[in-house]
Amino acid sequence: MSSTKQTENSIPFWQDPSRRAIVYQLATLAVVGFIAYYLFSNTVTNLQRQSIATGFHFLEKEASFEVGESLIRYSAADSYARALLVGILNTIKVAFVGIVLTVVLGTFVGIARLSSNWLVSRMAAAYIEFFQDIPILLQLIFWYAVFYDSLPAPRNALEPFPGMFLCNRGLAFGVPEPHPAYGYVAVAFLAGCLCVYFLRKWARIRQDRTGLAFPVFSTGSAVLLGFPLITWFVFGAPTAMNMPRLSGFNFTGGLTVSPEFTALLLGLVLYTAAFVAEIVRSGIQAVSKGQTEAAMSLGLKPWQTLNLVILPQSLRIIVPPLTSQMLNLTKNSSLAVAIGFPDFVSVANTTINQTGQAIEGVALIMVVYLIFSLVTSAFMNWYNKKIALIER
């Protein structure tokens, strides 16, 4: 005991790693703290000199600017806080629609890339390479320019499909006339989802106990499609459509999507889908061929092979990078500011320009996006834990 104590005492502190570590950390903290203090004090003096008030009081003031499109009721008389909320909702809207479309298109292209058909595979490769290598901002500006430069005025609108009009005022298409039946259809669909969830659970338990398989897929799809369809018939099968009609200089009726939103969505989806396609391709390729052969030799049918052997393994590889691409899409939607779609960054930018509250505005932007990414990584951790390989 005493000898150890002696050696400990005889080591000078600069040769003792643990004590040296404390010194290093204190020094780092001091430097970082000093820089932070320096920047902070400069900022405070500068703000005082320019007599800019700090704080978030401006949020309650009247915004007095219009926002192009909004999911909630908003007018120029509302507060900045409400304008920013409109921006957040617009960001969520474009991110949500974009993510759904991106996953669909990306999966499709990724599978096409693996096709044994040479032409299809080459086309998919060309798509991936081309859209990955052009900056997203250039793509957004290009699609937006297509709207105001190349598309005709509403009077000569293009009609790619019957009832769908494309012109420099945006994309207009028909939607079903509102009818109480659609509410019930939605409820029926949700009920169907719940039923399928429990059916799956029950089928798994039964298979574990008795070894008897239950055709979950066919029954499930029948339930998911049948429930809403029956409800639709029961409530009188409404078929009236609200079609866009040309009146004056623009379309009325139907649903009109603004050029800004369409261009933003198109750019984001085409760009991100190229990355998603690569992820899907490498995820499927990562499952070795022996797995397919083993499944086949066990007598599994092709869809069983895909469903029970390939997908569970490739999803484990695909989902983490996929989530980060979804987050990228959300972050890239901030480029809406360049084409005038009122997303959060764009509204915050207007707010900064009007109030001069630059620090608060940029801080708000950062906090909102940090929350988005925290939610995403929380989901990621949950998912990773759920699908982690349980090694026995």
Binding site: A21, Y24, Q25, L26, T28, L29, V32, L39, N42, T43, T45, N46, L47, R49, S115, S116, N117, W118, L119, V120, M123, E129, F130, Q132, D133, I134, P135, I136, L137, L138, I141, F142, A145, V146, D149, S150, K331, N332, S334, L335, V337, A338, V345, N349, I352, A358, I359, G361, V362, I365, M366, Y369, L370, F372, S373, L374
Partner: protein
């Protein structure tokens, strides 16, 4: 008894060639385009769409197009108007850089491309190349800025176009790399305070879009500085790009550090090397070699991301193109202009990503 020997002698048997339908062009088409009903239909559908799209596109690009005409002639033509490029290429490529001095950004770009081409070969990677890069970057800055060696000084507010895009990307990566390595080491550090600071920095930057950092550089950085001191807009944007890229590099380098076997650390320790020596002599040389391909990917995204400086009003190549399009006589030819721009970006990024893939196979 004689019959079997005849059979076994190889000279007697003619190799039967495979049927004509399974070799050569026909065989290739059959096995790659028409193997099975589904694929045959797929091929025909794809081919149909290609026939619908490609010939008109080629007509538009090459046959009906005008290459050097006035904008009024263009308006009556049915094809692409490449004249917008040939009439404005100097402005698109170099922005507001003084017209008679534009050889300087041009030679800076040639110098950069030359350096990149030299660094392509792995056998060239050495200390000399490192010094060559340092000298090269210095000369590029001198060529752009002027003021010494008898070169007329050019204000950085006049920098623009493709050189600005290149400079932001290359200087951004060069400056972000050391910072990123430090952050990666910090994140792997055993000291909790340093580890925490690194994690906060990396995750915060990776969680926000680059646009917010650029806004910060445009409106908040000036507030950080003491009175009387101003930094120009390009340098502030460059700082934002460096801060942003460093966080991504840190994650890539961390991946490389994790790939180093624990035995390497133990061996270094048992040789009596201290932390700095271990990292400098043993760990980093191996880790940085692993992460070269993903670093090229980061260079590609940094190159693409520089286009975002448009949002804070810098005249990079995207902004100069937009300015050209705002000129009343060239208004409306956005497809041609953006197509040209896409080609520039595509060629640069495609070369780099191809190189990165090649490297990945080699290493």
């Amino acid at each position: 008894m004689t019959q079997p020997s005849n059979l076994s002698s190889p000279a007697q048997i003619d190799d039967i060639r495979p049927p004509l339908t399974s070799i050569g062009v026909i065989g290739w088409i059959k096995s790659n385009l028409f193997n099975g009903l589904f694929n045959s239909v797929l091929t025909l559908v794809t081919f149909f769409f290609l026939c619908k799209i490609v010939p008109p596109l080629i007509r538009w690009i090459f046959i009906d197009s005008l290459w050097s005409s006035t904008s009024t002639e263009c308006r009556s033509a049915s094809g692409a108007c490449w004249s917008i490029i040939s009439a404005n290429y100097r402005f698109i490529l170099f922005g507001f850089f003084p017209y008679e001095l534009q050889w300087r950004p041009l030679s800076a770009m040639i110098l950069l491309i030359g350096l990149l081409l030299i660094s392509r070969h792995r056998r060239m990677w050495s200390k000399t190349l490192f010094y060559a890069w340092t000298a090269g970057l210095f000369f590029m800055a001198v060529l752009m800025k002027g003021g010494i060696f008898g070169l007329a000084p050019v204000e950085s507010t006049q920098w623009g176009g493709l050189p600005l895009t290149f400079l932001l990307a290359v200087f951004g990566l060069a400056a972000a790399y050391p910072l990123g390595v430090l952050l990666a080491l910090g994140r792997r550090s055993r000291m909790p305070a340093i580890k925490l600071l690194s994690i906060i920095y990396i995750e915060m930057i990776r969680g926000v879009p680059l646009v917010s950092l650029l806004f910060m550089s445009a409106v908040i950085f000036p507030l950080f500085l003491p009175e009387g001191l101003t930094i120009n807009k390009i340098l502030r944007a460059q700082a934002a790009i460096i801060m942003f890229t460093a966080a991504y590099i840190a994650e890539v380098v961390r991946g490389g550090l994790q790939g180093i076997a624990k035995g390497q650390y133990e061996a270094a320790e048992s040789l009596g090397l201290n932390y700095v020596q271990t990292m400098r002599l043993i760990i980093l040389p191996q880790a940085l070699k692993i992460v070269i391909p993903p670093s090229v990917s980061i260079l590609i995204s940094a190159f693409k991301d520089t286009s975002l400086v448009v949002i804070i009003g810098l005249y990079d190549i995207l902004k100069t193109t937009q300015t050209t399009l705002a000129n009343p006589s060239w208004m409306g030819f956005s497809r041609e202009a953006f197509f040209f721009l896409s080609c520039i970006y595509f060629v640069c990024c495609y070369t780099m990503s191809n190189y990165s893939r090649k490297l990945e196979k080699e290493l």
